[in-house]
Symmetry: C3
Subunit: 251 residues, 3 copies
C-alpha cells in the first residue's frame, strides 16, 4: 500500500493501493504511522501517488459498510493523519502525481508545498457534490492557499479544477511534466529547504504553521459528531450510494 524510498535525507511515501489509492482505514493508519516515524528518521518528506492518480480520496465503498461507531473512529483517525502532516516537525511536500479529488486534495492542503503533474488531472474539494460538509480546519486550510474568496467559491460549488487552474489560484505551488518529474521537483524543493540553516528554517516554518495547532485543537468531538451525523443522513447516503453505483457500472 505504501512504498517507502529514501532520496538521501528526503523520504518519499508513495501511496500504492490499486486501483485508485482510495483512503481506507488501513491506508490512513499506515500513512499516519509513517509520517510520524519519518520525523525521527529523515529530514524531509514527500507524499506521492500512482502515475496519473494521487488519490481518489476516501474509500467510500468500504466506508459505507461501517456503522456509526466505525465511521466515527475512522474520521478521527483521518484527522490524526491530517494533523500529523500539518504539524510534522520536518517539511512535507506533496507530489501530486495525478487526479486528487476530495480526501486526496485535503491531504495536500496540509503539506508545506505542492507540486502537481501538469496535464488533464483534476484536484479540488468536491465534498458538496457527494453530500458532505467540510470541517472548518479544512475550509481555512484552503482559504490560506487561495484566499477566502476563491476558497468560498470552490468549496461551495465542490469544484474540481485542472492543474493549470490549480496553479493559477494557488491551490498548488508548482507544475511538473509527468509523474516522475513531479516527484523529482518535490524532492528538489525539500533539498532546497535542507540546504538552509536548519534551526532558522525550522523556526520560521514553525510560526507559519502554528495556527494549525489551534485549529486542530478546536476540532472537538462535537465537530466529529456533526460530520458523522451528515454522513448518515438520508440525503448524504443517497448521494453516496448513487456514486458507488456509478463507480461499479463504470468498472
Amino acid at each position: 500500500m505504501l512504498k517507502i524510498t529514501n532520496h538521501d535525507a528526503v523520504r518519499e511515501l508513495r501511496m500504492d493501493r490499486p486501483p485508485v489509492n482510495a483512503l481506507n482505514p488501513e491506508l490512513v493508519t499506515l500513512l499516519t504511522r509513517s509520517v510520524r516515524q519519518a520525523a525521527s528518521e529523515c529530514d524531509a518528506l514527500v507524499l506521492s501517488g500512482r502515475d496519473g492518480l494521487f488519490s481518489a480520496g476516501l474509500d467510500v465503498v468500504e466506508l459505507l459498510q461501517l456503522d456509526r461507531r466505525g465511521m466515527t473512529a475512522f474520521w478521527k483517525s483521518y484527522f490524526e493523519l491530517l494533523e500529523a502532516v500539518a504539524l510534522s516537525p520536518v517539511p512535507v511536500a506533496a507530489a501530486i502525481t495525478g487526479h486528487s479529488p476530495a480526501g486526496g486534495a485535503v491531504v495536500c492542503l496540509m503539506c508545506d508545498y505542492r507540486v502537481m503533474n501538469r496535464g488533464e488531472y483534476r484536484i479540488g474539494l468536491n465534498e458538496t457534490r457527494v453530500g458532505l460538509i467540510i470541517p472548518p480546519v479544512l475550509h481555512n486550510a484552503m482559504a490560506r492557499l487561495t484566499g477566502p474568496r476563491v476558497a468560498e467559491h470552490m468549496l461551495v460549488a465542490g469544484a474540481l479544477i485542472d492543474s493549470e487552474e490549480a496553479f493559477r489560484v494557488g491551490l498548488v505551488d508548482a507544475l511538473a511534466d509527468g509523474s516522475e518529474a513531479t516527484v523529482g521537483q518535490a524532492v528538489g524543493w525539500c533539498r532546497e529547504m535542507l540546504s538552509l540553516p536548519r534551526h532558522s528554517m525550522l523556526g520560521n516554518r514553525a510560526f507559519a504553521r502554528a495556527h494549525f495547532e489551534q485549529e486542530f485543537a478546536g476540532y472537538t468531538d462535537e465537530g466529529v459528531e456533526s460530520f458523522v451525523d451528515t454522513w448518515f443522513s438520508d440525503e448524504t447516503q443517497q448521494v453516496m450510494q448513487a456514486l458507488v453505483a456509478q463507480l461499479k457500472n463504470r468498472s
Copy 2:
C-alpha cells in the same frame, strides 16, 4: 422601484428608481423586505439594476435633508439590508449592470457572487472622496474579496475602478457583455448552485459566510453613532454639499 421577476426558482430583484437607482430610505426598506421574503419563496436571488447603472449609492440629496435622528434610523436600516443580504439563507448573486459606486458597491460585497457588465462602468467604495469613514464590517468585506493590501489601497484612496480591473483584483468574480448577459450569467450561477445537493451546498456555504454574523453583531450603536457624527461634521457636510451642487449643475 423594484421589479421582481422569477426565473424558475431564481428570483431577480431589479432596482428601478430612475434616474440613478439612488438608495433612499424607501428603496432600502423595500429591498430588505424583498430579500428576507425571498428566502421562503425562492431558492436563490439575483440583485440587478438598470442598464448601465447598478446603483449610484446612497441618495445623498434626500439624506442631507434628514436630521440626526432620521439619519441614525436610515443608517441602521441600511445595515439591516446589508445583513439580510450577507446572511441570506439562499445564495445571492449581484448582476452589476453598470456603474456601482459607494453604497451600490457595498451591497455587492455582501453577495455570494458578483457578475459585472464589461465596459466603461466603474465600481468601488469611494467613501473617502465624499468625506465618509467606512465601517469595519465593510472594510473587512472588501479585504475578504481582494486581500487586505488591495483593500487598504482602494479604500483609503476611495478608488473607483473599471470592470476589467475589478475582475483582476477580485472585487467582481466574472464579466459579461451587456446588461442582460450580466443578469443571465448571475441567474446561471444561481442555477449551478441549485443543481448541487442542497444540504451540503448550503452547509458549506454557511461556514464560508459565518464570520459575517459576528461582524454585524460587532457593529453596535457606538459604531452607528460614530458614522452619524462624521456625517454631520462640518468637513463631511461641506464635501457632500459640494457634491450635490455638482450633481445639480450637471443635470
Copy 3:
C-alpha cells in the same frame, strides 16, 4: 546619514550611510526620531535610499560587537522604528531605490505604499539564511501584502526576489524606472493621498492599519528575549560570522 528634503508638504527621508545604508544603532535612532517628528511638520512621508541600494539591512558587522544587553537595547530600538512607521499618523511611502534585503525590506513592510526601482535589484526577508527567526509582527506584515501562502514560502526559504516578482506577488505596489523616478512616484502617491478630504482619508487609513497596534503591543519582552537568544546561539553566530568574513573578502 539622513538627507531631509521637503517636496512641499511631503517630506523625504533619504538614508545616506555609505556604502550600503546598513542600519546601525545610530541610524535607527535617527530614523525613528525623524519619522516621529515628521508627523507634526509635514503631511506625508517618503523613505528612500541611495541609488541602487535602499538598505542592506541591519549592520551585522557593528551589531556583532554588542553584548547581550547592547543587542537587546538595539532590537527594542529597531522595533520602535518599525512601530513609528507602521503607526505614523501621516501616510508613509517607501521609495525602494535599489536592493532591500532583510532589515531594509522589513521597514518597507510597515509603509502604506511601496514603489521599487525596476531592474536587477532584490528584496526579501532572507532572515532564514542568516540564521534568524522572524518575529510574528513581521511575518504577519508580509502575509498581509502577499497572502499567507506566498509569505510562508518566502519567509521559510529566506527568498530574495527581483523587483518584477516582488510586484507580481504584492510585496511592492508599483515599479519605476530609475532611482529618481522611484522617489518621484512615491512623492506622487503621497500627493494623491493629500488631495483627498483629509479627515476621511486618515479615518479610513486608520482602520486599515489598526491591527498593527495590537501586533506591536503583543511583541513583549519575551519576544525580544527569544530573538536575542537566537542571535547569540552558536548556530546563528556561526552563520553570521561566515557572512561577515564573506563581506570582508568581497571588499
